[in-house]
């Protein structure tokens, strides 16, 4: 696929990124697609690998070589069909996925990978622009209904897939809009919220009901929900932030990153006239004019930097426990694995500084407000084998500290407790058999099942879960008279059938232990 040998002649041209000095003054998407000719040239670089590692690198199993080729040949209409066959929301992953596909691209071994994510976004945007993405409600309704709790990417995906099977789906969301962390964590610079609204509108027209501001477990009991629906899917994410247990943590001015990001996204929504929940007075967090210290070097931390830069922080420093690696390649994760850290990011391009190999040991403050961060140099390749460098302690001045070191597990209060679903040793919802929880008729998918992960993984979770739920509800919306003849039904091999369906969803690798969810597999 692509053009034979084109990878030797054509160089990678990625997203067209706006000048950091300019974009840091607004909240608009900071990158844009190349023109159609260039995109087709980029598609031509695809080498038609016998084993497309990109396709494996993608948690959704996107058929990357196939649609790269379609773009190269200008077959945009088929490309969106091919893309939609594995990915319900390519316009999201085309923007905010860290693109493990690209790090797995065979060209990444000794050259620049194909600009896969850009091509994905281009296909999606072309499809919306051409009017190819239209509501496609199911031809028949099964009469079964499903409640999905949580309107993040996992919840949206499970809802979309189940609705397509003909079940009536209601999505309950405690926040004021759909998208979960895509709406409240990710800045508009990466994902403008209209993109989410555009998709949700399609889903609504296909018949999915979204109810916002409903906190199941508080506004509505889990029991009521189960009475009203034939199945219940928990997709509430992993929202308990990981904390730092160091002296001085109690000082004010030290916040979880997510609290800051929620406020910033609501601030932008308010500015743009979209519905928003106002921040309680006195709880505002602002970086304007502050010396900001961001703890944690992941995407959340970067988004904090991005917002701090836009608010006009006096300085921004990120403290990352990991080592800087030589030569730009991360030896901890050789090809085809995605690097744990990239040398730079969009946020750092706009301002701020990262200190590698530093561990926070405490905070100092005045009047109960943080003023200093105590830290030291460490060595090690993972959070488990950090070794302090003797005599490396240092102090940084800072008056806003944002902790962005990840999440523990889903919130246990409320829905989880009320349902009484079993948890695994990490506090995630245990799903013994595929996506089934310990409570009959209750399923779970996404971060609340596997721990914090990527948007692309969340969508994949939702798709897999939908197959299982559909099966539990009596199969596909096929002609009911022939239901018994559906795949494998006569063989009485329930397990094989399940596997079939999960594989058909494009989500199980050959050889993968499908039935032992991540919850039971980890040590």
């Amino acid at each position: 696929m692509g053009e034979l040998g084109a990878f030797l002649k054509i160089h990678r041209v990625g997203f067209d990124k706006r000048d950091p000095g300019e974009r840091v003054h607004d909240y608009k998407q900071y990158f844009a697609l190349q023109g159609e000719e260039e995109l087709r040239r980029q598609g031509a670089r695809c080498m038609d690998c016998g084993i497309p590692f990109c396709h494996e690198g993608c948690p959704l199993g996107n058929l990357i070589p196939d649609w790269n080729d379609l773009v190269y040949r200008g077959r945009w209409r088929e490309a969106i069909d091919e893309l939609h066959s594995t990915n319900n929301f390519p316009e999201f992953t085309g923007r905010i996925c860290p693109a493990p596909c690209e790090s797995a691209c065979v060209l990444a071994i000794n050259s620049d990978p194909v600009t896969i994510e850009q091509i994905e976004m281009a296909i999606a945007e072309r499809a919306f622009a051409e009017g190819w993405v239209v509501p496609d409600p199911p031809a028949r309704r099964t009469g079964k209904s499903v409640a999905v709790v949580g309107a993040g990417p996992a919840g949206m995906a499970v809802a979309a897939e189940l609705n397509r099977c003909g079940h009536q789906v209601v999505v309950y969301e405690r926040d004021e809009g759909p998208g979960g962390l895509m709406r409240f964590g990710v800045p508009d610079a990466k994902l403008e919220k209209s993109i989410i609204d555009r998709r949700v509108s399609i889903l609504e027209q296909e018949g999915i009901e979204f109810l916002y501001g409903v906190d199941v477990g508080r506004d509505l009991t889990a029991g009521e929900l189960r009475d009203q629906h034939d199945a219940l899917v928990i997709a509430i994410g992993s929202r308990v932030s990981r904390d730092l247990d160091v002296p001085g943590r109690e000082l004010s001015g030290i916040h979880y990153a997510m609290d800051y990001l929620y406020q910033r996204n609501r601030w932008v929504a308010a500015r743009e006239g979209r519905p928003f929940k106002p921040t309680e007075p006195g709880a505002e967090i602002s970086a304007a004019g502050k010396r900001v210290i961001v703890i944690g070097g992941g995407d959340t931390g970067m988004d904090c930097i991005s917002n701090s830069n836009r608010e006009g922080a006096r300085s921004v420093v990120m403290l990352d426990v990991y080592q800087e690696f030589e030569g730009g390649t991360d030896p901890r994760s050789p090809w085809p694995l995605p690097p744990k850290r990239t040398p730079s990011t969009y946020a750092l391009d706009e301002g701020g500084k990262r200190r590698w190999g530093t561990e926070v040991t405490g905070f100092g403050g005045e009047d109960g407000h943080v003023t200093h961060v105590y830290a030291r140099q460490v060595t090690g390749t993972s959070s488990r084998d950090l070794t302090p460098v003797p005599g490396s302690q240092f102090v940084l001045e800072g008056d806003l500290v944002l902790i962005a070191i990840g999440f523990e597990h889903p919130e246990h209060d409320g829905l989880v407790a009320e349902l009484g679903v079993d948890l695994d040793h990490r506090g995630n919802i245990r799903t013994e058999m595929t996506y089934r929880t310990s409570v009959s008729g209750v399923f779970a998918c996404g971060d609340n099942r596997i721990g914090q992960s990527l948007v692309v993984t969340a969508i994949a979770e939702g798709r897999k879960c939908a197959r299982v739920v559909n099966r539990a509800l009596g199969g596909t919306p096929m002609d009911q008279d022939r239901e018994l003849l559906a795949i494998g039904a006569w063989s009485g091999e329930e397990d094989r059938t399940l596997r079939h369906e999960a594989e058909a969803a494009g989500t199980v690798r050959p050889g993968e232990q499908f039935f032992s969810g991540p919850g039971t597999r980890s040590p």
């Binding site: 084993i51 497309p52 590692f53 069909d81 000794n110 085809p336 096929m478 006569w490 199980v508 050959p510």
Partner: protein, 1525 residues
């Protein structure tokens, strides 16, 4: 010697049905005068001189068989049974009986014989005990010897003539054979001929049978035969001759021929036989060899009234379809008889006689040698070699050879040789066959066009989904065929799950693996030798074989078997008085569920039988009714079931089977359908998908539907030719129903019922699972799913939702991580730790993934588990990994397919380990023969000798530790190869002795190996070149490979490699990678079992390769019988290969499989990576050994009792597999060696060369000139010059000695391979003649051959040298005063030669050098010739039509040609005394010069012109490329 008891039946994987044999044969006759005992003496002398073509088993005194067929010596019998009143000659018959040794059993059999004679109205005269002397025979033969008696039978009065008596004797014999079964064998039973034969060597024959020494045993003719069998089991009756023939060859289409003969039996009728005919049916003896079966049919045809040449022409037709110069009557004869019988296809030299006429016939491709001489006394000798009888030159009248497709006939009444044309014309004018044919036959193009009767409403997408189509099928199979008219090429091996382990509902086709020719017969090159190929197919009823009438030609004929939609409609709605078509539905109603398939299948067979009974001469099996309510059964199942049902009912021949199905879409699919009985196929969904492809711009924009369909049909046609030629079959007609397949993963009941006679050795799924999968496919389409896309595929390229592959992102990345970076050295032992840097922990992860996930779900060994021999032993007690790695080698990957960097890295790594790397077929740069400064050696220990012989010089051969003859390659067994011009850079070209930029072709067969005795010869030749190296033969796993391996052991190889069908390639058609060859587990186990049963295992080292990845694979391989292990893909992965599968495109992005300098710079592999991988594999094996309780690796070998089926496998299909035959251990004494324990056989001891080397010692050391001779030479002196040349190359390198240093004169008939590998500095001048393979691999020496001065004949009209002369020659000169046989200068890449006439296929595949032909040429001259120049003296101006001009131009001489041509002709004249040369030179300017045609490849010309334009003299390039090496 251990006494071997004959295995009565198949045991384990060994099946006697797979046995092959080959041999030397001769026909001796006296054209005029009285019958004489001298004929017998001469025949026995000839036989003894053919001894080297036969073979001995583990017991050297036991031959594989020798025998003689004579006219009944009347005088002898009258004396021998004195006292009995013998009727006149011709009124009594002699039955030769092999009787049980046990007296009681013998009495029963004798009683049976007597009663049968009596009940048939004849009179038993006498039982004669045949005197035998068993003192000289081997123990094995003696133990199995039958009691031999002759029964004399007198003819009854009512039999009008001797023919009637012969028929009656035949009837009696068949009755006895049918009633007596295995207890009795009747080698002859005739009033005309008598056979003496047994499990003897040639010299033993006359010693054993004193009759043969009796001077009263006189005859006009004798057939003798010396057998080379692949087994060592005692079998007296399998010796030749049979009753009418002796045969050197192999019937490739045997299975089909047998089935068709069975089908014919019910409609046989003969006035001559009358009611007696029923007594001889079945005509074929159960379980007989191909030769015996051929004999059975020939006998029937002759006894029912046809002459023996007539019958032979029916069974072995020449390639007549493409001939323009053929007598129209003869062509008509062949056309007509093609409606009666399919060819018995395969390489064959058959000598035949009915006691009155004798003759010989050669197959259409000339794949067996046959030379004859007639002397002045009227004796004629025809034999596999010339020189088998010593005839003084002045007594030789004529000489000749058997030419392809030609008949050689001796008319004893007229006392002369009847040539082919006359013999055939006589037969062809017997009836107006041409007229009959043209009146009765109907061509499909002559039928009127028809519209479909039923409207077609089913949407395409539903059909595609229901038939299991994927995007991959459209994109990677159908689109390329439609666009280019040929099957797409791919690369690397097939690592996908076996069909029986797949969850992807693979089509039934994928359970069938194509069989292919290896060793015992050659595959054909369907492109370069297309003159022998035919795709023509016919449908319609066949009639009684035993009569002749015009309506036997009522056949509907198609040029090829793929029908487009409108053509099928013509057929379906045919309205013709003799044709009637019926369409049968092969779908079943969905409401019946999976059980509905079997019900429908049963009804289908019943309906088919009924329609046939009612006169339907065409049955169309159709799944057009597929729809939401009806499920399609596998099309192959429908075809095979109906075919076999009708065969069993005896009505199969009354109808032709046509399949109309949406399912077939690849070449392999089509081939299986035809192989199981379909005459024509309409793959309608494939055609209907073209629109979609066009719509998706996957086809060229200017391609219309019509043209696209035509191209697909063309592509399939080419692919089918390739498929059938893999087995050496040249006509689709004889492939049809021939079942050239092995099933992998289908249960016995299913096979026995519907695929009767197919090998299926691991059990597997049956109708239940097939119907379940059919329904699963159906439910992809119905009810309509939410998504309209086709599944993505994933068989050819890995996809996550697709088929399971053993190489996947997980296994590749883990393997690469394990050999990179500074991981812990792990558990490496001290010696190897220093050299490796891999991480043991990461390797363990890789091994776990590869073993437990990838292999477990895909390969047979994944279904096995270990059974420890005892308690685990401490790891430190187990043989070190540094010792185990010495058993490892890397696969044969050529420089050319791999980059220079990758190729050398592998060699360095394997040399560091003490293992072996393999050159592959591409030569090796001599600079690699010396160590590098750091001590690394880039020399490959294994030097491969493949069919192209690229870079195979004497210098190359002496620089090897092992010489490997590649008979087949896992990814494309039975096929040749092609290196495209863009991969032939200056470096590659230099090493391969070719021209940069010009593509190179490797032929499918070795042109010096058409049979097992030829292989024995090449092994001998290679041993001569390098007596220190071991000789290996590489085979590919298929049913019968064990038997071939036994033959390889008997041919004195040291080593045999069994490759799995899943092995890799640098370029091969898609259908070969996936469709041919079976897993190594089966082939290896069969090899081990067969070698053990034959007591040959200790003689040979067994290596296995094909998708080897881990230590577990190694241990499984060892337990199944392997001493050594080959790895190819895995070490490449260690070097950075990521399975792009673009090796054939030259775009490998990691610099491994490419010659592009930019990409080669990206190569990052190091020897350390390979070392680390290999050591880790050995270490894993070592740990497994510890857990099994085994300390020494050699104790693992052959312990298949330590393996068991893993019952934990719960896969719904895989658990039906039964590995008991694979794991079977033959019952053997405990001390019987299960591994190689012996050294090689000292076969070179009696070589003539030792004497030459001794006399040349001074010349060898100091270069002093030497003149020797004349040295007498005979046909038993083989490969003369080989050892001498090796000595020169070893001492003096590639350049050898200065020209003329050693000159040796010879006289006599030289044996095969005269002057093989002859090194620079040696000149051989022979007065006499030579056999096949003269000048094989000529490396710089000079050979001249001229007849003795005293001969009576004109040299330029008589044979002087055999077939396949100068094969693979790289340098040197050769001159032959006389005619040469087939394939003169085949694959010549640098030698210059002159000859006075050649047979067919001259200068085939030539890439360099100059050849002058001063006389006639056969057909297909210059096929596949891509370099060098040939000059042909074309007196009759007929050359153009005999030349294959596909690649070459024919020009007149240019002025600059004179200076190249004239000196060569002059030298020819000077060295051979040729009058032809002298005349031409004297007439040079007076017309001779104008008669020359210059034959030059276009590409070669173009490249030379480009060179010359860029300032380099063209000549320099040509010379450089010719002289290098």
């Amino acid at each position: 010697m251990r006494n071997v008891t004959p295995p009565p039946e198949a045991t384990g994987l060994y099946d006697p049905a797979n046995e092959h044999d080959a041999c030397g044969l001769a026909l001796v006759a006296k054209l005029w005068g009285e019958a004489t005992h001298a004929v017998v003496e001469k025949a026995l002398e000839a036989l003894e001189n053919l001894e080297h073509r036969g073979a001995e088993g583990a017991d050297p005194n036991t031959g594989d068989g020798a025998g003689i067929l004579l006219q009944i010596p009347d005088a002898f019998f009258r004396a021998a049974v004195a006292g009995v009143e013998l009727p006149p000659s011709g009124r009594y018959g002699v039955g030769v009986c092999f009787l049980p040794a046990d007296p009681e059993r013998r009495a029963e059999v004798e009683q049976l014989i007597e009663e049968t004679i009596e009940s048939e109205g004849q009179r038993r005269l006498w039982w004669r005990d045949v005197p035998v002397d068993d003192r000289y025979v081997g123990d094995t033969a003696r133990a199995a010897a039958p009691v031999i008696r002759q029964v004399l039978v007198a003819a009854s009065e009512d039999l009008p003539d001797q023919d009637a008596f012969e028929r009656k004797l035949y009837v009696i014999r068949r009755l006895i054979e049918r009633a007596g079964g295995r207890a009795v064998a009747l080698p002859s039973f005739s009033s005309r001929t008598i056979v003496y034969k047994g499990m003897l060597t040639a010299p033993q024959l006359p010693r054993y049978f004193s009759d043969l020494r009796d001077p009263r045993v006189a005859t006009h003719l004798a057939l003798v035969h010396s057998r080379f069998s692949t087994n060592t089991f005692p079998s007296w009756e399998l010796a030749h001759p049979f009753r009418m023939i002796a045969h050197n060859g192999e019937v490739n289409t045997l299975r089909g021929n047998i089935n068709w003969m069975r089908a014919r039996e019910s409609q046989l009728a003969s006035e001559l036989f009358g009611d007696d005919l029923a007594k001889v049916i079945p005509v074929l003896q159960e379980g007989a060899s191909d030769s015996a079966t051929f004999d059975n049919v020939l006998e029937l045809l002759v006894l029912s009234g046809r002459s023996i040449p007539h019958a032979v022409m029916m069974m072995v037709p020449e390639a007549y379809r493409t001939r323009t110069d053929l007598d129209p009557d003869v062509k008509g004869f062949y056309d007509f008889h093609s409606c009666l019988m399919e060819p018995w296809d395969g390489p064959a030299a058959v000598v035949f006689t009915d006691g009155r006429v004798a003759g010989a016939v050669l197959d259409r491709n000339g794949l067996r040698p046959g030379r004859w001489i007639q002397d002045t006394e009227g004796y004629v000798v025809l034999a596999s070699e010339t020189g088998v009888l010593t005839v003084a030159p002045e007594h030789i009248q004529r000489k000749g050879r058997l030419a392809p497709g030609k008949v050689f006939l001796l008319d004893l009444e007229e006392g002369r040789i009847v040539d082919d044309e006359e013999a055939k014309r006589r037969v062809a004018r017997g009836q107006p066959y041409a007229e009959w044919y043209s009146q009765s036959v109907v061509h499909i193009d002559d039928l009127p066009d028809r519209e479909p009767r039923v409207p077609r409403i089913e949407p395409l997408r539903s059909k595609q989904l229901a038939f299991g189509y994927s995007q991959e099928d459209l994109r990677m199979i159908i689109a390329p065929m439609a666009a280019k008219g040929e099957e797409p090429v791919a690369s690397m091996g097939n690592d996908a799950a076996l069909a029986v382990m797949s969850d992807r509902q693979p089509a039934l086709f994928s359970y069938f693996k194509q069989l292919f020719a290896q060793v015992t017969n050659p595959p054909i090159d369907p492109l370069r030798e297309s003159v022998v190929m035919s795709l023509q197919a016919g449908v319609g009823a066949e009639r009684n074989l035993l009569t002749e009438s015009p309506d036997q030609a009522h056949q509907l004929v198609m040029d090829q078997p793929i029908l487009r939609n409108h053509e099928l409609e013509k057929l379906r709605q045919v309205s013709h008085d003799v044709f009637d078509a019926a369409t049968l539905d092969i779908t079943w109603p969905i409401e019946k569920g999976p059980d509905g398939m079997e019900i429908r299948l049963f009804d289908l067979c019943t309906e088919a039988a009924m329609y046939v009974d009612n006169g339907a001469s065409i049955l169309i099996l159709s799944d057009r009714n597929l729809g939401p309510e009806r499920v399609a059964m596998p099309s192959l199942l429908a075809v095979a079931a109906v075919h076999h049902h009708l065969v069993r009912r005896g009505t199969r021949l009354r109808t032709g089977l046509v399949i109309e199905s949406g399912e077939p879409r690849s070449i392999h699919d089509m081939a299986t359908l035809i192989g199981y009985g379909a005459s024509a196929i309409n793959p309608y969904v494939m055609f209907e998908s073209l629109d979609e492809l066009a719509d998706h711009s996957l086809l060229p924009v200017d391609l219309d539907q019509e043209e696209a369909e035509k191209r697909i049909v063309k592509a399939i046609g080419k692919g089918l030719m390739k498929t059938i030629s893999k087995m050496g079959i040249s006509t689709i007609q004889s492939y049809c129903g021939a079942q050239i397949f092995e099933a992998v993963g289908l249960e016995r009941e299913l096979i026995d019922r519907h695929f009767t006679g197919t090998a299926s050795r691991i059990g597997g799924i049956g109708l239940d699972q097939l119907s379940t999968e059919a329904m699963e496919r159906h439910f992809r389409a119905y009810p309509r799913t939410d998504r309209d896309l086709l599944p993505v595929g994933g068989v050819l390229q890995w996809r996550r939702d697709g088929e399971r592959h053993m190489w996947n992102p997980d296994t590749i990345s883990k393997l690469q991580h394990s050999v990179r970076g500074a991981g812990a050295a792990g558990p490496l032992d001290a010696e190897t730790a220093a050299s490796g840097n891999g991480s043991w922990a990461t390797y363990e992860e890789f091994a776990e993934t590869a073993n437990d996930e990838a292999t477990r779900g895909a390969a047979l060994r994944g279904l096995m588990k270990f059974r420890p021999a005892g308690d685990p032993v401490p790891l430190e007690d187990v043989e070190l990994s540094s010792s185990i790695v010495k058993r490892f080698s890397t696969g044969a990957m050529s420089l050319g397919s791999l980059s220079r960097e990758a190729h050398e890295t592998l060699a360095i790594a394997m040399n560091r380990l003490g293992g072996k790397s393999n050159t592959g077929e591409g030569g090796e740069d001599p600079v690699r023969y010396a160590p590098d400064e750091n001590g690394d050696l880039r020399r490959s220990a294994i030097k491969q000798v493949a069919s192209g012989r690229f870079g195979v010089t004497i210098h190359y051969l002496v620089n090897a530790d092992q010489l490997q003859i590649k008979m087949a390659q896992g990814a494309k067994p039975g096929e040749g190869g092609q290196l495209p011009g863009h991969k032939v850079d200056a470096y590659i070209a230099r090493i391969r002795n070719s021209t940069p930029g010009v593509g190179l072709i490797s032929p499918p067969p070795h042109h010096d190996i058409y049979s097992i005795e030829d292989l024995k010869q090449l092994i001998y030749d290679l041993r001569c070149a390098n007596p220190q190296a071991s000789v290996s033969v590489k085979l590919v796993s298929e049913v019968g490979v064990g038997t071939v391996a036994a033959g390889v052991a008997k041919a004195n190889a040291d080593h045999v490699t069994i490759s799995g069908g899943e092995g890799g390639t640098g370029a091969s058609p898609q259908s070969s990678i996936h469709g041919a060859g079976v897993p190594w587990e089966i082939g290896l186990a069969e090899t081990q079992q067969t070698l053990l049963l034959n007591d040959l295992r200790s003689r040979i080292t067994v290596e296995v390769d094909g998708q080897m990845k881990t230590g577990r694979d190694v241990v499984v391989g060892a337990l199944l019988g392997a001493d050594e292990f080959g790895f190819s893909t895995a070490p490449l992965v260690a070097l950075g290969c990521v399975m792009m599968r673009v090796c054939h495109l030259n775009t490998c992005p990691v610099g491994i499989a490419t010659q592009d300098p930019v990409l080669r710079e990206r190569f990052r592999g190091t020897p350390d990576q390979v070392v680390s991988y290999m050591v880790n594999v050995a270490e894993e094996a070592r740990r497994l050994m510890a857990s099994l309780g085994i300390r020494r690796f050699e104790d693992l070998i052959g312990r298949s009792d330590l393996l068991d089926m893993d019952e934990a496998i719960e896969h719904w299909k895989a658990r039906k597999v039964d590995l008991s035959q694979v794991l079977h251990m033959p019952e053997m004494p405990a001390d019987a060696p299960r591994r190689r324990t012996r050294g090689p056989e000292p076969v070179l001891d009696d070589s003539l060369d030792w004497e030459l080397v001794r006399r040349a010692s001074a010349a060898l050391e100091t270069g002093e000139t030497l003149r020797v001779g004349p040295v007498p030479v005979r046909n038993v002196n083989r490969a003369v010059g080989g050892i001498l040349s090796g000595e020169i190359a070893r001492r003096h390198g590639a350049g050898g000695l200065p020209e003329g240093t050693i000159e040796i004169a010879f006289s006599g008939s030289a044996g095969q391979s005269f002057g093989a590998w002859l090194a620079p500095g040696v000149t051989f001048a022979l007065r006499g003649e030579t056999n096949d393979y003269t000048g094989k691999g000529l490396s710089g020496g000079i050979i001249s051959v001229r007849p003795p001065e005293t001969v009576l004949f004109r040299p330029e009209e008589n044979m002087i040298v055999g077939n396949t002369v100068l094969y693979g020659a790289t340098a040197g000169r050769a001159f032959f005063r006389g005619l040469a046989g087939e394939r003169f200068a085949v694959r010549n890449s640098g030698a210059c030669a002159a000859v006075e006439g050649v047979g067919d296929h001259g200068c085939e595949y030539m890439t360099g050098g100059r050849v002058v032909v001063l006389g006639p040429t056969g057909r297909n001259f210059a096929a596949g010739m891509s370099g060098g120049v040939a000059y042909v003296y074309d007196v009759g101006r007929r050359f153009a039509e005999r030349c294959n001009a596909e690649l070459v131009d024919l020009d007149l001489l240019a002025p600059e040609d004179d200076e190249k041509l004239r000196p060569l002709i002059a030298e020819h004249g000077q060295r051979t005394g040729s009058l032809v040369a002298r005349n031409i030179l004297s007439q040079w300017e007076k017309g001779a010069r104008e008669r020359f045609v210059k034959v030059m490849p276009r590409e070669y010309k173009r490249v030379l012109a480009e060179r010359s334009a860029s300032q380099q003299p063209a000549e320099a390039v040509a010379e450089a490329s010719g002289a290098a090496g």
